[in-house]
């Protein structure tokens, strides 16, 4: 195997787990509430800017940015949903209402970031010790190792929460059948509030991690993350946590390998081609079937 090939595979695994994380937080919200959170990418981006402030401006480790990003995004989302959530779900067409609402939120967050940080590209500047590792003839930046390491703790933790705890099961149950959950006395609206806030917190953390992997970001980078997030969860199956992880991996691999074989511009295109194929053959996504039909 050429070292270029090895490099692409290592990159794909690193990005795959981060994309998986991106999809996981998005799928929790979509599944539990049937809300397409168009502002998800901006929430991720806000996390990246938290990392920028904590590291580049204040000089702390990116690890310190993780709890800050989680708490900040959690609280902002909590406030947002407490104000608008019930009204959105009571709307005559909740999906359209939330679509427009979150589009507005995404514009608001992006212009807020533009106001605070200008349009220039920003990046996380922090000198890890050592700066990089040499493995299999590859130079792997420590920032990337840290990002993947954190994601590899966070993803299993999320799965434990979703598959082993009562609240996690209730969240997944809400994806399968909201009404059945309500008749056993679960306050689905409150569950949605918690799900939305936790999801935003995770989005914030994902933003910190992505900032360690991607060289730079601007106030307009949010849309890319939103699109990647939606591709990932549609690929894996809407509402399926396992599907989000699988979708993230597939998207990252196709992106990295086509970039290697064909070129940068083909990278993203390949991901979309796979998406179109999957949707044409299995409309519910790769493993969305069971939870989607209910």
């Amino acid at each position: 195997m050429t070292s270029l090939m090895t490099g692409a595979i290592v990159n794909a695994i690193a990005l795959g787990i981060l994309y998986g994380l991106l999809g996981l937080s998005l799928t929790i919200v979509y599944g539990a509430m049937r809300i397409a959170n168009l502002a998800h990418g901006e929430m991720v981006l806000a996390g990246s800017y938290v990392a920028y402030v904590v590291t580049t401006q204040l000089g702390y480790s990116p690890l310190a940015a993780i709890p800050v990003a989680f708490i900040l995004l959690f609280l902002l989302a909590f406030a947002l949903f407490a104000v608008a959530g019930r009204r959105l779900q009571a709307a005559r067409d909740p999906e359209m209402a939330s679509f427009l609402f979150f589009y507005g939120v995404s514009l608001m967050v992006a212009s807020g970031l533009l106001f605070l940080f200008d349009a220039d590209a920003r990046s996380v500047i922090f000198q890890f010790q050592p700066l990089s590792y040499r493995v299999l003839g590859l130079v792997i930046p420590k920032a990337r190792v840290v990002a993947v390491g954190v994601a590899m703790v966070l993803v299993p933790a999320l799965f434990l929460f979703l598959y082993r705890t009562t609240s996690g099961k209730a969240l997944r149950a809400a994806v399968m059948n909201r009404d059945a959950l309500r008749i056993v006395g679960v306050d689905v609206e409150r569950l949605s509030l918690v799900a939305f806030s936790v999801s935003a917190g995770i989005a914030g953390v994902t933003g910190v991690l992505l900032a360690l992997v991607f060289p730079a970001f601007t106030p307009f980078s949010g849309l890319d993350y939103t699109i990647t997030g939606f591709v990932v969860i549609v690929l894996g199956g809407l509402g399926s946590p396992l599907g989000a992880l699988l979708g993230g991996m597939i998207f990252a691999f196709s992106e990295q390998l086509t970039t290697l074989w064909i070129g940068q511009s083909a990278g993203v295109l390949a991901g979309f081609l796979i998406l179109v194929l999957v949707v044409a053959i299995r409309p519910a996504g790769l493993i969305g079937q069971a939870e989607w039909k209910s």
């Binding site: 009562t166 149950a173 399968m176 059945a180 006395g185 679960v186 039909k293």
Partner: protein, 236 residues
């Protein structure tokens, strides 16, 4: 606890699904609800449980108004129900389906014991770790019944529980209903099969196009010419 419904009306656009319906269900008794398809039976249950908001009328549970409340509130107030088309959590196991019911302070060990006990009662114990989506239609209805056993509501609404159910499974269901009655649970039983209602019900209400066509004891309803005409008119 009694459930009292007065002058309930509900329209969907131009369809009057319920108009001016009054009835009551009392502890330890079965109120049978009969009526052909589209008579308004499920709509009645949806109004009681908070899935539909009535246009007019009152719903009282133990003398307290519950009309227009959210489904989770109605559930916590002590009303349980099953659905005509069973609603389970397909990708959770049969046991997990019962464990998502809020514990309300009950220790998890006791909760787990009760869940296993409920599954035994409805003869699903051997399937505890199968996914609910793998169950047959009749078994899914029994899973809904187990969910009700866990909740232990004071008023239970069954929406066509026996339709399409194998006769062995019907037996399980009927035994549980008998036990609920002995614990003074009030039962509203929507049923297509008049024979079962004639046997179980203290009173029967016959709905037709959203109205109460006839009501009273099984003997009285059975001989009511309006009922005979409505049923013969549709079935033959």
């Amino acid at each position: 606890m009694s459930l009292q419904i007065s002058n309930l009306s509900k329209s969907y656009g131009r369809v009057r699904a319920l108009s001016d319906v009054s009835l009551s269900v009392h502890p330890g008794e079965v109120l049978g609800i009969m009526g052909v398809n589209g008579a308004g039976k499920s709509t009645l249950l949806n109004c009681i449980c908070g899935f539909a908001t009535p246009d007019a009328g009152a719903i009282e549970l133990g003398g307290r108004g519950i009309c227009g409340q959210r489904p989770d509130h109605v559930s916590r107030a002590g009303v349980g129900r099953t659905f005509q088309v069973p609603r389970s959590f397909r990708s959770l196991t049969v046991l997990e389906n019962l464990l998502v019911v809020p514990a309300r302070g009950e220790p998890s060990g006791i909760r787990l014991d009760r869940a296993h006990h409920a599954l035994e009662k409805v003869k699903l114990a051997t399937l505890a770790n199968n996914y609910a989506g793998e169950l047959s239609g009749g078994q899914q209805k029994l899973l809904e019944l187990a969910r009700i056993l866990i909740l232990a509501p004071r008023v239970v609404l069954f929406d066509e529980p026996l339709a399409g159910m194998h006769s062995d499974l019907c037996r399980v269901f009927l035994d549980e209903v008998a036990e609920m009655l002995s614990r003074s649970v009030a039962v509203m039983l929507v049923c297509h099969d008049p024979g079962i209602l004639y046997r179980l019900a203290r009173d029967i209400v016959v709905l037709h196009e959203g109205r109460v066509l006839s009501s009273g004891s099984p003997a009285a309803v059975r001989c009511d010419p309006a009922v005979i005409e409505a049923y013969l008119g549709v079935q033959h």
